[in-house]
Amino acid sequence: MENLNYSTLVRDRFERPPNAGRLLGDVIRGAAGEKSHGTRVEFDLRLRDGRVERARFRAYGCPHAIAAASWVAEQAEGRSLESDEWLDPLRLAEVLELPEYKLGVLLVVEDAFRDATSQACGS
C-alpha cells in the first residue's frame, strides 16, 4: 500500500474537493490529457477585470491529479491572468508531497490551466 500513502492535503482534496464541477454562462475553458493515458483535466474560469473571479475543475485521474486540479482552481481565484509564476509544478509537487514519478500528472494540470488562460489572452 506504499503507493496509497497520500498526504493529508491530497486526501482532503480527493475526498471533499470544494470546487469540482463546471461554471455556466460566460466562461473560458481549458483542457489537457487523455483518459486513455490516465489523466484528463478541465478548467472553467470566469473572469472579471482581468482577474479570475471563479474557477472550477473536472478531473479524471489519480488522487494526485484530482487534488492538484482542485488546488490550482482554488489558488487561481482572485489572481490576475498576467501573473502565472505561482503555477509552478515543482512547487505544487512540494505542496502536495508528490512522488517524483507523478510529476507528469502535474504537467497535465498545468497544461489544462494554461489552455484556459491562453483562450482569454487570445480573445
Binding site: L4, P17, G21, L23, K35, S36, A59, Y60
Partner: protein
C-alpha cells in the same frame, strides 16, 4: 475517513490460516509437541515428526489424486514453479530446448522462462483468447519437434478463468511432451486429478487454501522419478530434489488445510458462487460495468470487473474500506495495463480501472451487501468529478 477494519475481499492473494489448521501447527512447535527433526530416524520424537510429515503428504496427495511419493515439499508455489521449469530444463535439455507457456502466467513461471532463455532455451508465449482461455489448439500450434515442456496455469489469478487443462494434457501426452500446471489458484477450489488432467508436474501452495505462508508442494509424476535437477542442494531431503530440514509445523498445516478443503470444497464452491452472483448483481446496477472473463469457466469466488469513467488508482484508494486488488499496475510508475485484460479486448481505460474481488471462507452476505454499497457510492462520486466522455460534465454547478 474509514476507521473500521477493511472488509477482506482478496482471498485470491492470500487467506488467513484456518483455526483448525493453526491448532495442528501449534502441536508441532514447542517442547511439549512434535518438534523434533523429521529426518532424525534414530529416535522416537524424530519418527513421530516424520509420521506427521507423511500424514500431511498423504493429505496433499489426496486432494490432487496423486501418490504421496509424488509430492515434494517446497517453500511455496513460486519455488515449485522454479523447480518444475528449471529442474526439467536442466536435467532433460538433451530431449529439447523449447518451452511453451502463456503470457498470462504467474511471474514465477515467466521469470523462470526468462532465465532459461538467458541460458539458451527458446520459449513460445501464447496469447489467450478473448475469453481469457488458453486452449489445446493454441498450444498445438506453438509446439515444435524439440518442445520439452508446456507450462500453463489452471486458473488465472487475475480473472479466475480456468483453461482447458485436460485437453492440453492429452495433447502433451500424445506428443510425449512434459506438462506442468500452476494450480495455486485452483487447489481446494476446483476438483483436481493429475491423472485425468494428464499433468506431469503441478505446483500448489498452502496459503491460498487457509494454510500457512512459506510452504508449498510440487507434484512430480512417478515416471519422472528423481530426474529433476534440484535448485537447492544439501542433505538430500525429498529424494534429493529439495534439500533442507522440513518445517514440520508448516508441512502439517498444509496437510490439514488441504484435507479440510477437500471435505468442504463442494459446498463452499456453491456458497461462494451465490455470494459472487449477489455481488455482481449489485455492482452491475451502476451501469458502465464490465465483467472480465467468461462467466461459465470461472473459479468460485473471483469476480473481476472494469468500471467505465473512473481511473484505477483513484478507484482503489476510494475503495479502501475494502481489501481488494487492482487488476492493473496502475499505482506504479509504469502505468502498465494488465496483459490479461488487454487480451480480453479491454481498452486502456477499462484495463486500468479493473478491480478483482475475491471471496472466501469467511466472506458473508453482509460483507457483499456492504461492498456493493461502498462501490456504488464511490464510483458515482468519482464519475461526478470526471470530465464527461462526450464533452459535457455530468455534474453542473452554476455559480
Amino acid at each position: 475517513m474509514p476507521t473500521m477494519k477493511p472488509i477482506y475481499m482478496d482471498y485470491a492473494a492470500t487467506t488467513p490460516v484456518d483455526d483448525r489448521v493453526a491448532r495442528v501447527m501449534c502441536e508441532c512447535m514447542t517442547r511439549d509437541g512434535v518438534f523434533a527433526n523429521p529426518a532424525s530416524s534414530s529416535h522416537q520424537p524424530g519418527r513421530d515428526a516424520r509420521g506427521r510429515v507423511e500424514t500431511a503428504r498423504r493429505q496433499v496427495a489426496g486432494l490432487l489424486n496423486a501418490s504421496p511419493t509424488e509430492i515434494v515439499w517446497t517453500s511455496g508455489a513460486t519455488e515449485s514453479d522454479n523447480l518444475a521449469l528449471k529442474g526439467v530444463a536442466h536435467r532433460h535439455a538433451a530431449r529439447g530446448r523449447h518451452i511453451v507457456t502463456s503470457r498470462t502466467e504467474h511471474k514465477a513461471v515467466l521469470d523462470s522462462c526468462r532465465q532459461l532463455e538467458n541460458e539458451g532455451f527458446e520459449v513460445s508465449y501464447l496469447v489467450p483468447g478473448t475469453d481469457g482461455v488458453i486452449t489445446a489448439e493454441r498450444v498445438a500450434e506453438a509446439m515444435r519437434e524439440d518442445t520439452l515442456l508446456v507450462s500453463i496455469m489452471h486458473v488465472n489469478n487475475e480473472i479466475g478463468i480456468a483453461s482447458d487443462i485436460a485437453d492440453i494434457g492429452r495433447l502433451c501426452h500424445e506428443r510425449k511432451v512434459l506438462f506442468h500446471v500452476d494450480a495455486a489458484q485452483s487447489a481446494g477450489k476446483l476438483p483436481l486429478d493429475v491423472d485425468a488432467m494428464g499433468v506431469d508436474l503441478m505446483s500448489v501452495s498452502a496459503h491460498k487454501v487457509y494454510g500457512p505462508k512459506g510452504i508449498g508442494a510440487l507434484y512430480i509424476r512417478d515416471q519422472l522419478g528423481n530426474r529433476l535437477e534440484p535448485l537447492i542442494h544439501g542433505g538430500g531431503h525429498e529424494w534429493g530434489m529439495r534439500s533442507g530440514t522440513l518445517a514440520t509445523h508448516q508441512v502439517v498445516g498444509m496437510g490439514e488445510a488441504f484435507a479440510i478443503a477437500g471435505q468442504e470444497m463442494e459446498e463452499e464452491a456453491r456458497r461462494l458462487a451465490g455470494l459472487r452472483r449477489r455481488l455482481w448483481d449489485g455492482i452491475r446496477g451502476l451501469g458502465g460495468v464490465w465483467l472480465n472473463g467468461c462467466p461459465e469457466r470461472r473459479a468460485a469466488g473471483i469476480l473481476n470487473v472494469s468500471f467505465e469513467g473512473v481511473e484505477g488508482e483513484s478507484l482503489l484508494f476510494a475503495l479502501r474500506e475494502l481489501a481488494v486488488s487492482s487488476g492493473s499496475a496502475c499505482t506504479s510508475a509504469s502505468r502498465e495495463s494488465s496483459y490479461v485484460l488487454r487480451a480480453l479486448g479491454r481498452d486502456d481505460q477499462l484495463a486500468q480501472s479493473s478491480i478483482r474481488f475475491s471471496l472466501g471462507r469467511y466472506s458473508t452476505g453482509e460483507d457483499v451487501d456492504r461492498c456493493v454499497e461502498i462501490v456504488t457510492r464511490e464510483v458515482n462520486r468519482l464519475r461526478s468529478l470526471a470530465p464527461p466522455a462526450g464533452g459535457e460534465s455530468a455534474r453542473d454547478q452554476a455559480i
